[in-house]
Symmetry: C2
Subunit: 443 residues, 2 copies
């Protein structure tokens, strides 16, 4: 019998995801080895604390605290970077790529911040960078965009990419409990971090949107070039008003491209999604992504967006692709073009101006409950050419105040921005207006 | 500048799908060639009638009526079999595979009937068979099962795989119109074939389920080994009763595997799907597939399941994978194991006995409206150990008849089958009872 090739894997980081990869790769090793025709060896594992008790039992001899030593170990073929953050994770990634290794990563923040550098390094050295686990956990959305839907260009991609926010919004909608109470519980249950800002302010969603935009359009859009708004100001009143209007509220990433002008734009914001849409029914910690392709039409992908097992599923999928690459000498994934690993060239693509980023809007204001206020507000919107579609007024705190909710016909981000600035200046408007987008996209 | 390799593609069949492939491949050729680093040439195209007017203009010099000549042409690298049926299509496929070519196919009936033969032929000759377009149109579900979700074993796969049935059921639910009227309109609109039986009796769904079961479990389950029931007996009354109970009715394929006993089973039947489930909200001609993986949990895939463009998207995705295979000398897709192209070995897998195929059930009967009937019926179900969960009785045609709808607790297909046979023998039961399954699956 012929000796099977041994593929040696280094695991950098043995936190939640690292332990999931160890556990499931151990459980499924025999089947995967039979299919791949190789032996898979988890060769070394780096941790911060050698003595920490963990749910998975990794032999002490395999453990090290030196992640860079794994990246530089000439025996190791594939490095799984599961450290997180953009410091040591970047060093490990670049070191491994410089040695022509394959890096498998779940690190969306790293990719969003240093993607261009990482793909340049990979191209230069002949290394490869796989990142299915970085977006939407176990949903194979990266593979779908790069391979399955290769015939398509993508005018519109939108989705729920953060399970924490979706969990909070779902519970608010189902139970009528306020944001702060649900957030507190989510923290206690481990569904939200102690510092929740990365999730609820939309940054985590923005990182993932940046990766999807790169895959679809070949350009890295920085978070500061996006509109990024979180869910922290969404109230029960917004959720029930939206429900009355026929919508659910979801935190969406929206990636648009106009193929006539080659303008692209990425935004993250709480969005009123029509109740009949599938994404309005994606609840709890689940993620969902709708992709409008110019050939296939809209396809939608739903699954758990985070967590040990879902993320491990994606990492192991990438590991298997990496082994195939090693044993055939060529990338499994398509499109090692000038962007390193992306499928789209990004040539000629530019950021859309805010005049070209359009939507219908939902504006909630607390106003003085006195005659003439609505006329003042309507004058402001008219001057910005923002056309009002509906007005709902209800009583509000404090006494003598009213809650005024406007929905608009289609307008654009520049017009709505100056509308909001002017509304905020009105003496009769008692606090900063809340802006939500209405997501009845043309697919 | 180096001469780029030319990949020659033969197109067998220029019907709806063939024309879609021609159209979209022509439109996207430059981008795909840039990414693949080759020239793509649609070298020859076979048609039944050379003189027929078509929406796409194929140069006359490329046209032939001889599909087998394309399969045997040594210049052609990839053959797209878009003829349909299991006669000439099989000959063309086997001839092309025998010459070591790659065959890209959208032909679910062929694959279901002759899959084992096709993969054996491919393995023997070094040819390859790609079939993303055969299931769920443009949704890259084959790639997801084979590659993205490779870490997983699949206890449960279920989905809406036939757009025609889903269109009919959706319109029945939304408009309250009867089955026959909607079917007639669907035919007029081209959403249903002149002979609708393949769709509405569930056979098309069964073909696709067979392919998914092969991918997930490595065995070919024949349609005669499945339970296959269609939607033709579903009435408005069933839809509204189901709605009252909190369910929508969908034609589902359900593929189950018990990993303790290695029993697998495939069934196709109209199913009551809880309204909160995503699949209950997949409407119109759309398909949706839920896949329960043992690592990732449940992921769901939704998109147009048929039609020129969606199918072309999948065919072109496969063509691109085929070109990558040709230029790297190795399969892009994983798992060229003993089943030829499947990912799962099928070793030890056997068909589940009907006692082990369980569900909750919905039974509709037209009964004589007289005392003692319910007691008779309850005696029958009790003797088969089928436990009744709810009883709904309404007036029915003819006069002195009642419509009796039972739902049951969990039972199994053998018990329910004998229950139905015995119920049908009761004098008070006026026509063959209708059986629907309640699809509240444990995911």
């Amino acid at each position: 019998m012929s000796q099977k090739r041994v593929i040696k894997i280094g695991l950098c980081g043995l936190g939640t995801v690292g332990q999931g990869v160890w556990k499931h790769l151990s459980a499924h090793r025999a089947r995967l080895e039979a299919r791949l025709g190789v032996k898979l060896e988890l060769h070394r594992v780096s941790v911060r604390d050698l003595k920490k008790q963990r749910a998975v039992k990794v032999p002490a001899a395999k453990l090290t605290t030196d992640s860079l030593a794994i990246a530089n170990d000439p025996e190791i073929d594939i490095v799984c970077e599961l450290i997180g953050g953009t410091g040591l994770a970047r060093e490990v990634t670049l070191a491994a790529l410089a040695r022509g290794k394959i890096v498998v990563s779940a690190n969306k923040a790293l990719l969003c911040k240093h993607g261009a550098e990482i793909f340049t390094a990979a191209r230069k050295s002949g290394g490869h960078f796989f990142f299915e686990a970085s977006v939407a956990g176990g949903i194979p959305i990266i593979k779908a965009l790069r391979e399955g839907l290769v015939a398509n260009r993508f005018r519109l991609i939108y989705g729920i990419l953060n399970g924490t926010c979706n969990y909070i919004l779902t519970r608010m909608a189902l139970e009528g409990a306020p944001y702060a109470a649900i957030l507190k519980e989510a923290k206690a249950l481990g569904y939200a971090e102690a510092d929740e800002s990365l999730d609820v302010e939309g940054w985590d969603t923005a990182h993932k949107a940046s990766i999807l935009a790169f895959l679809a359009h070949g350009v890295w859009i920085k978070t500061e070039q996006m509109i990024v708004e979180g869910i922290d100001r969404v109230t029960q009143a917004d959720i029930s008003t939206a429900a009355t209007l026929g919508y659910g509220i979801k935190l969406l990433a929206v990636i648009t491209r106009d193929f006539d002008t080659d303008e692209v734009f990425v935004r993250v914001h709480p969005t009123l999604v029509p109740k009949g849409k599938v994404l309005a029914n994606v609840n709890g910690v689940f993620n969902g992504i709708a992709v409008a392709g110019d050939v296939v039409g809209t396809t939608t992908y739903i699954g758990r967006g985070a967590g040990q097992d879902a993320t491990a599923s994606a990492v192991i999928g990438d590991l298997v692709d990496a082994v195939t690459l090693l044993t055939t000498g060529k990338a499994v994934a398509l499109g090692d073009d000038e962007t390193g690993s992306a499928t789209r060239s990004g040539r000629g693509v530019r950021l859309a101006s805010l005049d070209h980023v359009t939507s219908r809007y939902y504006i909630r204001m607390t106003v003085k409950d006195q005659p003439g206020v609505l006329a003042q507000i309507a004058n402001v919107t008219a001057r910005q050419h923002v056309s009002i579609a509906s007005v709902i007024q209800t009583a509000a705190e404090p006494a003598n105040a009213a809650s005024l909710i406007l929905t608009t016909h289609h307008s654009n981000e520049r017009a709505i921005r100056s509308t909001l600035a002017r509304l905020a200046q009105l003496k009769s408007v008692l606090e900063k207006p809340l802006l939500l987008r209405i997501g009845d996209f043309e697919e």
